[in-house]
Every structure is written in C-alpha cells, then in structure tokens.
Amino acid sequence: MKFPRPALAAACALAATALVAGCSSSGSPAATASSNQKVTLTFWSWVPNMQKIVDVWNASHPDIQIKFTEAAGGDAELAKLLTAGKAKDMPDLAQIEYQSLPTMVSNNYLADISSYDASLKSDYPAGIWDQVTLGTSALYGVPQDAAPLALFYRKDLFKKYNLAVPTTWAQYATEAAQLHKDDPSIYMGDTATTDAGLFAGLTQQAGAQWWSASGQSWSVGIDSAAAQKVASYWGGLVESHAVDSQTAWTASWDKSFSSGEYASWISAVWAPGDLVSQAANTSGDWAMAELPQWSAGQDVSGAWGGSATSVTSDSAHPQQAAQFIAWLNQSTQGTSLLVSDGSVYPASLTAESSSSLPAQTFMDQSDFYTLAKQYSASTAAATWGPDVDVAYSDFSDDFTSTVTTQAGYLSALSKLQAAVVADMKSTGFTVSGS
C-alpha cells in the first residue's frame, strides 16, 4: 500500500474548497458606479422592527435595495464596526450614536454626504445638526432621533407626600431630603452617576463641554467647573442619603421602580418605553416635566443618547445610500414608520409636530409631544471627542459603589479627566491644558 497521506490530502482539499467558497462569497462591495443599475446596500441598525421599515422602502425602490442586518446595540456594535473598518469590510449604512461620530470620523470611516443631504439642515434643531457635522462643512450622517432629558415623576407618590414638581435643582434637593426623611423606604430617585451618558447630559445642561477643539488641539473639560458643580451636587445628595446609589439597568433596579421605591426618574423622552418593561404595574402613574434648572427661569436641557444614520467610507454607492437615509430619517413616510414601528422619538422638526405620533398609552399625558419638542429645541449643544468610549468605560470604573461622598465624587471626576487625557495622548492626539 502506498504511503497514504490522507491527512495531507484532506488538508489540501479543505484549503482548495476554502478558496472556492471565498470566491463565491459576498465579502466585498459591488464595484459598479452607475446609478441606474440596481444596487444592494447593506445596513446595520438596532432599531426595533427596522426590517419592516426597510421592506417598505424596498417595495417602492427596486433599483436601490437595502439588505438589513440587525445589530446589537451601542458599544458592542461600535467595536465591531471599528474592526470591520480596519478590514474595509463595513456595511454601506450604519446607525451610529451621536457620541460615537467623532470616533468614526477620526478613523476616516464615514463618508461625507453633504453634497446629497445638506439641504435637510433646516429641519433640525441647531444643536442636533451640529452633532452630525462636527462643526465642519462636511456632513457625516442624518440625525434620526433626539433624546432630551426630562423629569419623570410619580404623580400619585408626589401627591401622597405633598411634593411640588421641582423646577430647580435646589428644590429637587430639598424635596429629596424631605421625602426620604418622611419615609425612609422611598427615595426621590437614583443617583445620576449610574450611567455615564446620563451624567454627561446633565453636565451639558450645566454648561460643561467634555471635549472641545481649538485650532489643532483638543481640550478635555470633564473636570470643568460646571461638571464639578453637577458632581458635587449629586455627591452631596448621596452622602446625605437623599437619593439612592444603585447600579442602573439591573433586575433589582427595575424592581425599585415597580415597587414604588423611586418616586422620580431623571431620564430622556424614551423613558416611557423603558418603564413599560421596568415597571408595567405603574402604568398611568407617571408624568413628565421639564428637567430641573440651575437657575429659576432657565430653559436648558441636556441629551442622553440619540443616534444618526451614516454612510460608511467602504460604500461604493454613497449617493444611493444618502438617498435612503434622507427618506428614513427625514421624509414623512420614513419618520412615521420609525415612530410607529421603531418606537423612535424623531429628531426632525416636522416629524416632531406630526399628528401621526402614537398616543402615549403608558403615561397619561396629553401634551407629551409638545413638551418633548420643546425640550429637544432647548437642548444644550454637545461636542464629543474621539475617545468617548474610553471615557464612558472609565466612568463606571471611577464612580463605583464605594464612592458615596461629595469629596469622593469630585475626586472620581478628576481621575476620569486624567484618564481621558492620558488615553488621548497615548493614541496620538494633541491635548492642550491639563
């Protein structure tokens, strides 16, 4: 019998099949440039029911077909996108949170679609439009949703404990202390440092800019006076036990809502959607009011989240892709589908006033959308830097459960500042100041 080399033969066969399979796989984007031929664009998004929305577009646009893949949310998806970018393997279209846009742009992963969609500018509040232009003349995406912060409170509990709806932070603090003293089993709410996005939004309201650019260098303002004001405020509340200090987004945190342990929630206008699952039994008990202000009579809010849809630099058909985005995020048909199927609160001004916004069933508030639009318009502008992910990740490391004093909050904040500056420098950025 010959020396059989079945193993080697198998290995060769495997390699050969791999190459063949590779040739027939769809790894690289189509190379056609003509806009009259049918193109298929890949699209990653985490919006619920996006497939249904895409189906509507596909039915009426046979020449521009969208192939949708459901993406995991947030930073997992961003990490995957960044890795795909290195391999030039990104989808044509992707949903990107506002705070991640600078990261994508600084890696040169987003296409400039200003020549296609710049005219949409008039339909968006300035603060939101700035998020997708990054203050330049380029356009890196079309805003999809807005997430202004507001105060959500339990009408029944406020009535029971004789609380007025706080309009200033000072009032919020007094009422929180009073509430917990009257009934130690209840808190006004949870502290604001359980979620980096929430805290960032609140510091924006106070006037802080975590990142800003001047000339050719960045500066980091995580430790600025305005941010310190917010940190010291919440640190004080925690230290005096006026608010709780629990990790957010866990089962026991959900329970704090459903059991009535928390009388209010500082959250964004997407809160009712979350409360439906967190505390279904409290349906009808919540109301929304403006976020407490630092000075009486002010009208400023911050934002917690929100995303845009962008065209990546790997796309061979930016024009068609930009067309789809404009339809999705700004057209009447697209936005009403987003609202009804995707449970999105739209950023577009016309969509915000539209009559097709679904009635709020969880909250008993007839002026919900009027108020939401107001808050969206009054959101302070935010500039994000190229390493938001690091900042958010370090945030949770610095604001741990053991940090429960005002001094602790302030020192966590300055630790965060130092970490973010160090990270930017080590990645090669020029950071001015501390």
Binding site: Q216, T250, F399, S401
Partner: protein, 333 residues
C-alpha cells in the same frame, strides 16, 4: 502515564532493527520497520492548521505591537491618522502601566483561589464517579458536566443576578434562616470569591471528565488485588487511583492555570452590574479587550497581549520541564 501490563498474547515482536522485508502482497511494497516519514504525516494537518490559524495571526500581532497611530491636528478628516512604526514604545508603556500589572496581580490572586478549589472538586468527583457503592453516578456525571455546556455569558448572568443585592435569593435565604444582613457579593474582597464561584461552577465538570476518562483507562486488575487484601473504596481511591492519575492531574492543573490567567468571560459579563466591584480592567484580558476594542488602540492591545503570552510561556515551560517525565511516561522514547 502508566506502563501497560503485558496484555499481548504472542511473543514480543521480532527485533525492529534494520531488517527489511518485502511484504507479501501483489504490489511488492517495502515494509519499512522504522517508518521515518510517517509521524510527520500524522502531525502534518495539525501543524499546517496551527500555522495558519495561530502563528500567522500571532506574527501579525507582534507586528502590530510595534506600530502606533500618528494623528495630525484634531484627527478629523481624510488623512489625519496614519499608522507609523513605534519601535518598543508600546512595550515601554505597558511596563510602566500600573493598572495593567495590578490586573495581572488580580488574575494571580483569582487563580490561587480558583484552581485549588476547582481541581480539588474535579478530582474528588472523578474519584467518586469511579468508585463502587456510590449511587447516582450516571446522574452525577451528567449533572456536574452540564454547567460546562452553558455558555459563560448565560452562566455569569445567572450568577450575577443571584448576587444582586436586593434581588438575591441567596441573601433572602440567609436572612430568613440566619438573620444575617446579607452578603455584598461585589464587595472589594468577596468579589474574588464571587467571580471564582462562577468559574468553579462552569469549569469543574470538564476537568472532572478529563480525570474521569483517565481513571476509566486504568486497568481494573490492580484494584482486584487490593480489594482481596481488604482495602475499602476510599483507600483504593486515595492510595492507588490518585497516584496513578497524577500526570493527568498535573496536566489539568497546568491548563487550568493557563486558562485562569486568561480569565475574561466571567468578570466581563458581570462587570456592568457589579457597581464597580469588577472594573473594566479587572483582569489582563479585560485590559487588552478594553484597549483593543473600546479605546480602539489595537497596537497597545497587541503589545499587552504579547507581554501576557510571554509571561505564560515562561511559566508553562518551567512547569512542563519539571513534570514532563511524569506526564509522558507511556510514550515511545
């Protein structure tokens, strides 16, 4: 491992030295008694795959670790970022990074807790499964192995929920029965035990199976003699079986140690709900993950990976040298 007792029924084969005989078949093949090329054929598929799947990417990682990003100006815009050579600067950064070495220390502490417990349990269960007069062995084998089949993500989520302060069934039982306040499973020292518990739960079953398989391949006659001499099961297990599976235990220990120093899944899965008890850089692998994916600094991540790999390489070589003979005793020499 062990030298197998003489089981063959015919005499020892004719000496294999040099004699070449023609095999009586129609093709007139030569029979080479000392086949030189055959072992290479046997190990070829593994080696080829290994080169493709490990070595090439590893080489690429080494290359990446010598690069860094150069940013022009603000870094926004078409050509603002470039990959440039960085020599050993990434490595210098790693050696000076206190946080990184703290994560190494934490992994070592974690390992010192996890390994003895997990291997002790694995050995105990393996012996129990192989012993006589023990009931429920089939159930035990399946049940204890099963956690290994549960994805670490799910297992960690489940245990994480059992650790949540207000929610924990463990704490409510403790409160009801003993009146204790409740353990803070994410407290700065207890958190090691909490994370180790997830590792023990998930990993004992597999190690148990490896040791059990070794036990099953031991010849049963040895026990016969001992039983006739009046030894009970416990003595047989501890005095006879245990020493005979020592090589397997050592091997399992080494691999568990390597796997443990690479711990990532369990702490990562619970770090968000741990209220800071588990930080994002709690273990070296988490640090690497954070730098590679979150901070998008693939170059620093690559350097950190190489450093960790080297550490483990040194550790393994040292231990393997010491135990080589005991593990591979049953082989052609």
């Amino acid at each position: 491992m062990t030298t197998a007792p003489s089981l063959h029924t015919h005499d020892a084969a004719a000496p294999l030295t040099g004699a070449r005989r023609v095999r009586p078949n129609g093709r007139g093949q030569r029979w080479n008694p000392s086949p030189r090329r055959m072992p290479y054929s046997f190990i070829a598929p593994a080696v080829v795959l290994f080169v493709v799947v490990f070595l090439v990417p590893l080489g690429y990682t080494v290359y990446l670790s010598t690069q860094k990003t150069q940013v022009e100006g603000l870094g926004l815009g078409a050509n603002a970022r470039k990959q440039v050579a960085a020599g050993f600067s990434n490595y210098t950064y790693v050696f000076h990074d206190g946080e990184f070495w703290q994560s190494v220390l934490r992994a070592v502490v974690y390992g010192c807790i996890l390994i003895p417990i997990m291997l002790g349990l694995a050995t105990a269960f393996a012996l129990i499964l192989d012993a006589q007069h023990v009931r429920f062995q089939r159930l035990g084998r399946l049940a204890i192995f099963l956690p290994y089949a549960v994805p670490t993500l799910i297992g960690s989520i489940i245990w994480g929920m059992m650790y949540l302060p207000a929610f924990s069934p463990i704490n409510s039982v403790l409160h009801a029965v003993f009146g204790i306040q409740g353990i803070n499973f994410f407290g700065s020292h207890i958190v090691y035990l909490s994370v180790a518990n997830i590792g023990v739960w998930g990993g004992t079953g597999f190690n148990m199976m490896v040791l059990y398989t070794s036990l099953r391949s031991l010849p049963q006659e040895t026990y016969e003699a001992a039983r006739l001499d009046g030894a009970n099961e416990r003595q047989i297990s501890l005095r006879i079986k245990l020493p005979m599976i020592r090589p397997a235990m050592i091997m399992t220990g080494i691999f568990s140690t390597i796997a443990t120093l690479q711990v990532f899944n369990e702490p990562y899965a619970i770090h968000e709900i741990s209220n800071g008890g588990v930080s994002t850089t709690w273990t070296p692998l988490m640090t690497i993950y954070k730098d590679t994916y979150t901070a998008n600094n693939v170059y620093l991540g690559a350097a950190e990976s190489i450093v960790i790999a080297l550490l483990m390489f040194v550790l393994s070589i040292v231990v393997l040298r010491a135990t080589n003979r005991q593990i591979f005793g049953g082989e052609a020499r």
